[in-house]
């Protein structure tokens, strides 16, 4: 089935890029599902129903991956044939130091929830996230996939931090 062989960017007719226009993606999802959702084939043959289920699932999978920055960057690496051995460690000493400091911060906040410290750190992490995304974009322009992969770990880390800090603030 040709549709299922397309990559998700082709499926949604979106240029491969680190950034994505969320409302464009939403719009495309609606167009695609309006035509391939199983409900549109409920009086169809078993074969049609099976195809519709496959295609509709594939569209939803694509929507999920393209709509999430981490999954999207992983996917860009994948369609560019970049496979990194996950067991390889990252030898960025500064980043390791940053992780240790962050864990210490979280431990201290657990004992003493201080909203102003949380806010300060939150805006700090947000800035780092922005820079990391920029670095990933630059790396992709030059097809520096190794560099993209290194930054991906930071991306995951900062997003996790932001969620953690927001949860603490809401307590």
């Amino acid at each position: 089935m040709d549709i299922l062989k397309q990559n998700f960017f082709q499926l949604f007719n979106i240029e491969i890029s680190v950034d994505i226009n969320k409302s464009d993606l939403d719009e495309k999802l609606k167009i695609l599902q309006s035509n391939f959702h199983p409900d549109k084939f409920s009086s169809g043959s078993d074969f049609e129903k099976r195809l519709a289920l496959q295609i509709s699932s594939y569209i939803n999978d694509g929507y999920k991956i393209l709509g999430d920055i981490v999954l999207r960057v992983e996917y860009i690496l994948k369609i560019n044939g970049f496979n990194k051995d996950e067991s390889k460690t990252i030898n960025d000493i500064d980043f390791l130091q940053e992780q240790i400091e962050y864990n210490e911060l979280i431990e201290s906040l657990k004992d003493n929830l201080d909203n102003s410290i949380i806010e300060d750190n939150l805006s700090g992490v947000k800035l780092k996230l922005k820079n990391t995304i920029n670095n990933i974009k630059l790396a992709y322009q030059d097809h520096e996939f190794e560099d993209m992969w290194q930054n991906l770990s930071k991306l995951r880390f900062y997003i996790k931090n932001i969620n953690e800090l927001i949860n603490m603030r809401n307590k």
Binding site: P38, G44, S45, L53
Partner: protein
């Protein structure tokens, strides 16, 4: 065959129209309705609401609905609120509070059953009695045979509860077009009636379950953003809470049975409205309850619903400013203070101008009409998975495979390997729920992968596909990729009915009316045959010459001619075979049509150009 759905769906002929309904199978009451194109609710003794009550007397005669409620025979067992225990394990049922009305025993397959006159009835059996009563009601009113139904379920129902509901319908002889989430059904009816667009919340507080869904409605597409709920929280719990208060406050209540006390509790709930207080007499004793006391009693329950609602809003990614309206659905939202409390807590406008008790059945009836092709409006419901799906990993931990609120249908692949040399089997426990420990989640079933080729540990690669369909129901398949062998999967439901149990039960229930069945089958096959011919001819007219070579075109026409001649005969088996042949012969054409449609669809167009 719905080939034409891609192009221009215009079946004009009236004999192709199907008789389809929406069924709201509720904890306390059920409804059955059709939408063609006006809403028609099938009444039982002049009432829209049909009590979900089944009574079985000493002769094993079965009464359903109002007849069951008002029977007075002391030797009759009455079963209410069966929805509370459908799809639950024996252990789960025993953990329920106020389970007095169910004296449940364990039957074969570990399926919990209620024993009446030495006969065992599972929750699926009882539900199928209710469904079959509803079906008869609609069929006798229209004097037509039912072609299919959309049945609503709480959005927060898990896979086992959904399967059980679907099986109950199958046993009742109902062709299930779709299981539809109750809040989504309500949104459909509300959205189409009001012509509103934007984001809104459905607060669905029924007799036994609470659901909340955040949806976005735009150009006929209803997209569920998040859903949450509690399948053991409803008006029943409010009645129970008031019953407890009555028992604790008035010592004379000890002389009454739990069922009697609950009846008083229920009437307090229904009659207090916004009065300052309510007083009445039970024999020589008088009872008084103020509005404040009433709210104190029900507040813990309402607060739980508000907490769930907050979580659902967070999960939707919207801020409360972006939400236009909160729409009240379900009989329990008739309690006056709910509207005020929601307005205070969420600073949103709360709408209660739709009838909260019929809106779910209304939406289900619309969806049935859409799915059957009777209604050609361009409307689509995009729903989500309510509870995360995972597998058991080492140490009894749950590893999530598909996260909740993921749009469905969805397929996810997980790769497994062996950990011993020559290992030929692998056991996978599939679970559903949000908690980290397997014991705190629901086990959907164990899947045994067999016939794994003997290799060193870690050698085989077994791809297991978890497919969730539009009903939110899971199926699993597996392939061993290093050798290309397809491993077989044995699905062992944790508890419940196997495929063969269901077939047996359907056969049993149909035995009596064999000649009717044959006639019905012939009619169905003729209608279906006509639909296939019509759809395919439309499609061929449209693009057959472009997408097919002369030879291919001819090969389809040949099969089509055979089918046409068979339709005028009276042999349902040969018509069904003819349909199969046509469908088989046109599979590549179907595939080509889908592939070609996607190219024209997406090329730089906005949704306004398409719809």
């Amino acid at each position: 065959m719905s080939l034409l759905q891609i192009s221009d769906p215009t079946i004009k002929s009236d004999d192709l129209k199907k008789f389809v309904v929406g069924i709201d199978l509720g904890t306390t009451n059920s409804l059955i309705a059709s939408h063609d194109p006006n809403l028609r609710i099938y009444q039982d003794q002049a009432s829209n609401l049909i009590p979900s009550v089944v009574a079985i007397n000493s002769n094993d005669d079965i009464l359903v609905g109002n007849h069951a409620c008002f029977q007075t025979d002391p030797d009759t067992t009455t079963i209410a609120s069966i929805k509370r225990i459908i799809g639950l394990s024996y252990e789960d049922i025993n953990k329920l509070e106020h389970k007095e009305s169910f004296s449940v025993v364990k039957a074969q397959n570990d399926l919990p059953c209620i024993s009446i006159n030495d006969k065992e009835y599972s929750a699926i059996d009882i539900s199928s009695k209710i469904l079959s009563h509803l079906k008869q009601l609609a069929e006798s009113t229209e004097n037509k045979i039912l072609d299919g139904a959309v049945i609503t379920v709480p959005a927060y129902f898990n896979d086992i509860q959904r399967q059980a509901t679907k099986n109950a319908a199958k046993i009742a002889g109902i062709n299930v077009l779709r299981l539809l989430n109750e809040p989504t059904a309500a949104a459909l009816a509300y959205g189409l009636e009001s012509n509103e667009t934007g984001s809104f919340i459905i607060y669905d507080f029924g007799g036994g379950t609470f659901d909340v869904s955040v949806l976005n409605l735009d150009k006929g597409i209803f997209k569920v953003l998040s859903t949450d709920g509690n399948t053991r929280l409803g008006g029943d719990d409010i009645d129970n809470a008031i019953s407890v208060w009555l028992t604790n406050t008035y010592s004379f209540m000890q002389h009454y049975s739990f069922t009697e006390i609950k009846q008083y509790a229920k009437s307090i709930k229904e009659s207090i409205g916004d009065q300052e207080s309510i007083s009445f007499n039970i024999k020589e004793n008088s009872i008084t309850l103020t509005q404040n006391q009433f709210q104190d009693i029900i507040n813990p329950i309402l607060n739980e619903t508000f907490e769930i609602m907050k979580n659902s809003i967070t999960a939707s990614g919207l801020s409360s400013k972006e939400i236009k309206n909160i729409i009240l659905v379900g009989g329990s939202t008739r309690i006056n203070c709910i509207k005020n409390l929601l307005e205070q807590k969420f600073s949103c406008s709360v709408l209660n101008n739709i009838d909260p008790e019929i809106v779910v059945a209304h939406g289900a009836a619309i969806q049935a009409s859409l799915l059957s092709g009777n209604n050609k409006d361009n409307i689509l419901l995009l729903d989500v998975l309510p509870l995360s799906l995972g597998i058991e990993t080492y140490g009894g931990l749950a590893e999530k495979v598909i996260l909740r609120n993921t749009p469905i249908p969805i397929k996810l692949r997980k790769t497994f390997t062996t950990f011993k040399d020559g290992q030929s089997k692998l056991l996978i426990n599939v679970i559903q729920g949000e908690r980290e420990l397997v014991d705190d989640c629901n086990s959907l079933g164990s899947f045994v992968l067999t016939d794994i080729p003997p290799m060193v540990a870690g050698g085989p690669r077994i791809d297991v596909d978890f497919q969730i369909d539009a009903d939110g129901i899971l199926s699993v398949s597996a392939t061993e990729t290093t050798t290309g062998n397809t491993s077989t999967i044995e699905v062992k439901p944790s508890y419940g009915l196997s495929e063969s149990d269901i077939t047996q039960m359907i056969n049993d229930s149909n035995k009596s009316a064999e000649t009717d069945m044959n006639l019905r089958r012939l009619n169905e096959s003729i209608v279906e045959g006509k639909r296939v011919v019509y759809a395919l001819e439309q499609a061929l007219d449209n693009d057959g010459k472009d997408l097919l070579s002369n030879e291919e075109y001819r090969s389809i026409i040949d099969k089509l001619d055979v089918l046409k001649s068979r339709i005028s005969g009276d042999d349902s088996v040969s018509i069904e075979e003819g349909i199969k042949d046509v469908e088989k012969q046109s599979e590549f054409y179907v595939e080509r049509r889908m592939n070609s449609s996607i190219k024209s669809l997406i090329a730089g167009k906005g949704i306004d150009d398409i719809l």
